[in-house]
Amino acid sequence: MKSREELEAMARRIRLSIAQMTWQSGLKGAHLGGSMSVTDILAVLYGEILHYDVQNPLSPERDRLILSKAHAAVALYAALHEAGFLSKDDIDHALQGDSPYFEHPKMDPTHGIEFSGGSLGQGLSLGMGTALGLKMKGNTAAKVYVILGDGECDEGQIWEAAAAVPHFGLTNVTVIVDDNGLQFDGRKEDILKAGDPAARWASLGYDVCTVNGHDVEAVRAVLLRETEKPRVIIAKTVKGKGVSFAENDVTWHTGRLTDELYQEAIRDINHD
């Protein structure tokens, strides 16, 4: 098992890559806020939880990770780089020119990207179908992880799929909600209150737990806990986490990093 420090160091490297890709994207900018909020979760997943083999990326036994909140693509690219699926070169060219690694991930399982994304609300259905397919094939080794945004849970399709996962007995599914409390137009609370999200999932038959999404050990602990039911982990996070000027600021949903801001971001991340 990796130490807390190792996981945190990995998260820090991911954050630095995110900042770098955002900066090198120039005027385009990138979805910095929602990428930083999901970083620690991805660090734990790729650092410790997910089973994958870079040499054999299509192994049937691999765990499937579906980033439904696909606008956090840069976080995924950075994590895939940590995992060894993407090279440094890939990261250095991401979001530029005709790089295949642009604002939303494009399906490329050999590089760890299970599905294309960009249209919110679709990932849990994909996860459900994948899990069902695995179950039907008798593949009990592979697990399915779906990462949703809290704003994304406005979409009705999420609730169609959410009802179906326990109904089909897909206990190999883990849903992680990156609950950073902000969506494009403002605070979740102001745009569309979620009521009691944990109760929503619980009423459907999930094992629900809430965790500090930036505490790598806590995240690891809930991911390692055995359950009989499909799981939902509501990860309380901070949008823009680690970059002081972007934290909890809705305008940093997408943003551009000038040279100065990039330097400031690097300082912040390294001192966090």
Binding site: L126, G129, T130, Q157, A164
Partner: protein, 334 residues
């Protein structure tokens, strides 16, 4: 996953006259069921899927014969496509069905991303396309589905003419990994176009009837009515070819080219005249040097009032007699 070779020639399905009559009696649902049973037998990767229309789609028999191979996601069409995508990616070949009016509208974004963009081998079957469910009102009439599916890239669009062709189309679609939309038009006791076995190939139109003066290009249920119209026109001395354009996309442009010498081209479809087969033919001809005059018959740009199938066909002027009348009046205009 072991795939049996695609030679349906030595297949289990017997395209005998007797069977053709039985399939016609059972209608599109029965044909789907027959094809599904065959696929269940020879293609282990095939999964049937539905959104609370297990009975309606005629797949009850399949689900009994192949337990666990019919996935019903409930009344949740968007989820239907997403789940199909997940299955497709894991190596299955999902045949998902729901009402054509819903699959071409409620879950277009999901179709767009999973089928058109990711090109996952999902076969989507639109039940009661056109006016078959018209008695249930405009919500259940699928008139824009051809246009919607055609504008999306990478999706093969099939619209078989009778129950025999429905079976052939479904079986043929299982031979490719192309995302495919199969549009089932026509009622129970569906008129028979093909009385005997014939060669069906995706993308290859069938000249059902030869003619000198004009050409009717029809698809789906309208092929039968087009033949009927051609027979009526023959009596009036107008010699009329009929083409069954069962594959609306990709369009068989060679078949259209062969008709360019005709005085007039008529397209007939049980679908909106905007964006469907008529439009596909017009788009192609628009780029040619000498384009024949074309009239486009189909459902005018409106929602017909609810009613029985026969009533609606008449309301939309899509019976053989009405098609013949409209052709004659167009000829007199031209």
């Amino acid at each position: 996953m072991n795939r049996r070779s695609g030679n349906w020639g030595e297949k289990l399905i017997d395209f005998s006259r007797r069977n053709i009559r039985i399939w016609s009696l059972l209608g599109p649902g029965g044909a789907l069921s027959t094809a599904a049973m065959e696929l269940g037998e020879v293609k282990p990767e095939v999964q049937m899927m539905t959104a609370d229309l297990n009975y309606y789609s005629g797949l009850k028999r399949f689900s009994k014969a192949y337990p666990g191979r019919l996935i019903n996601v409930g009344i949740a069409e968007q989820n239907l496509i997403g789940v199909a995508a997940g299955l497709a990616k894991e190596g299955y070949m999902p045949f998902a069905n729901t009402y054509a009016s819903f699959c071409a509208s409620r879950c277009v974004d999901q179709i767009r991303v999973n089928m058109a963009y990711m090109k996952l081998p999902i076969k989507l079957i639109g039940l009661s396309a056109g006016l078959d469910a018209g008695v249930l009102g405009a919500t259940h009439m699928a008139v824009e589905d051809l246009a919607v599916m055609r504008s999306l890239p990478n999706i093969t669009v099939l619209s078989p003419a009778d129950c025999t062709e429905i079976i052939k189309a479904i079986l043929a679609s299982s031979e490719t990994l192309d995302p495919t939309y199969i549009r089932l038009t026509g009622p129970m006791n569906m008129p028979i176009v093909y009385n005997e076995d014939y060669d069906f190939q995706i993308g290859k139109a069938v000249e059902i009837r030869q003619g000198r003066d004009i050409c009717i290009i029809a698809t789906g249920s309208m092929v039968y009515h087009a033949v009927r119209a051609a027979e009526l026109l023959e009596i009036k001395g107008i010699s009329c070819a009929v083409i069954n354009m069962h594959t609306v996309k990709p369009l068989d442009t060679e078949a259209v080219d062969a008709m360019q010498d005709k005085k007039m081209i008529v397209t007939v479809e049980e679908a909106s005249i905007i964006g469907g087969l008529g439009s596909a033919v017009a788009e192609y001809l628009a780029l040619q040097k000498n384009r024949p005059y074309q009239i486009m018959l189909g459902i005018r740009d409106s929602f017909p009032t609810a009613g029985s199938y026969d009533y609606l066909l008449k309301q939309c002027r899509l019976t053989g007699e009405q098609i013949a009348e409209d052709i004659i009046s167009a000829l007199s205009r031209e």
